[in-house]
Amino acid sequence: MVEILPNFKLVRPKTVEQAVAMLARSESAKLCAGGTDLIVNMRHGLSDVHTLVEISQINEMQELDLDDDRLRIGAGVTLNELARSNEIAKSFPAIHQACVAIASPNHRNCATVGGNLCLDTRCLFYNQSHWWRKSNDYCLKYRGTICHVAPKGNRCRAAFAGDLAPALIACRADIEITGPQGKRVIALKDFYREDGADHLKLNSDEIVTAVSVKSTAQNSAYKKITVRGALDFPLAGVAVVCNQTPDDGRSFSIAITGTNSSPVVIDVPELKKDDNRQDFFSALGNLVKKSVSPQRTTTIAAHYRRLSIAAITVRLAKTLSDEGSK
């Protein structure tokens, strides 16, 4: 059951500077890009917003540049614009596959890259209507004191379920953040922290303006497990980038979403030419199982999510390492 939207003031800045100033002016100001997640959450009473800073009119954030050196994706680029880029589909298959796996085409027409990277964490006990959560004494993530997923723990276990983040992290992306002090650039993998209630290292007066990766074409893929074929958040998802090493081995860059409160980067040793492939991939499966910690944040059992993400990771890694040798 959804409720009517609370009252708020809508402002629509034309530049990043204006947006930062508007965010700094009020503590309860919140950014809204496509709004495909935020508006639903607001209708569930999950946000106290007095000023909504809507950033779809900031042209400088809607640029998509691919030159010899870097691919730079403005945070305001919509997911369908990203999906339509043939160069990205060709050179960065994982980013393209993650992009078209998000929600439905109707969402992707307004949902943005920045919005997907800053997606709120999700949980069975959080993404519910106000009356549902109230009757359950709310939860640690919002208004409550107990995490119903892990009542003895001291932090929120809501899971990060963005699809683009693992694909971009596996491609070793950097993220550009603009605030009152100017622009800072950090590695995307350092942008998240393992706390469902506060998973972004982003101050309330800062805006994610772009994300960029080195423009070297790669052998990569993204896959997620969902209950439905479309319109669904990942129960778990994985992006794998596989590169050939000079001595004909394989190096992997792997990131996983949907299992923890932040994307999980898996440190995988190199697959040497003479290594036993079966042993390597079975060790990779075990490493993934050990690295992720899915909790009771979805209706699907955590154990299933752990096993299936390990299986999918191994499958993608195998396929990509075989493709590279052709």
């Binding site: 609370p6 209708r43 909504l52 109707n106 969402h107």
Partner: protein, 155 residues
């Protein structure tokens, strides 16, 4: 807070004073009495409220009306021309793509958005474009058939 929105709805330009928190679906249904657009799940999950904003399918139940400033909005009411059904409407009618009809306005608008981008889509592309529109009656087969009929490639 209120603001003035100027937009073109089904070819007619409008100016209205609206609340900042007014959703596009409420603006269309309540302010403009264009009740063809349906509110299904009311949370961006079913696609029944799909309308075209600047030619692209958008979910009006999670779109703020005030963000459609100067936009061209098209709803199911704008599909027919002088009382004649559009090709898509006729195809849905003739191929039984409509049963209870609740999802149909959203289906037709999403299909209309697809056909503008890609006038000759294959079945996979039709399925992908309608992936966000749920139907409880038809089992989708006749909906896909209807869209295929509308592009003149019915097999």
């Amino acid at each position: 807070m209120k603001q003035i929105i100027s937009a073109t709805i089904n070819g007619t330009s409008c100016q209205d004073a609206i609340d900042d928190n007014l959703l596009l679906i409420d603006y269309l249904r309540k302010n403009k009495t264009l009740t063809g657009t349906k509110s299904g799940c009311d949370g961006g999950e079913c696609g029944a409220c799909t309308v075209l904003v600047n030619g692209q399918p958008r979910l009006s139940c999670i779109t703020l009306a005030a963000t459609c400033q100067n936009a061209e909005i098209e709803t199911i009411e704008g599909e027919s021309n002088n009382g004649r059904l559009s090709a898509l409407q006729r195809a849905f009618h003739e191929n039984l793509g409509t049963q209870c009809g609740f999802c149909t306005p959203g289906m037709i608008m999403a299909a209309s958005g697809l056909l503008r981008d890609n006038p000759n889509p294959n079945d996979g592309e039709i399925r992908a474009a309608l992936a966000g529109n749920l139907c409880r009656c038809t089992g989708y087969v006749k909906i896909i058939k209807s869209v295929r009929a509308a592009i003149g490639t019915s097999s």
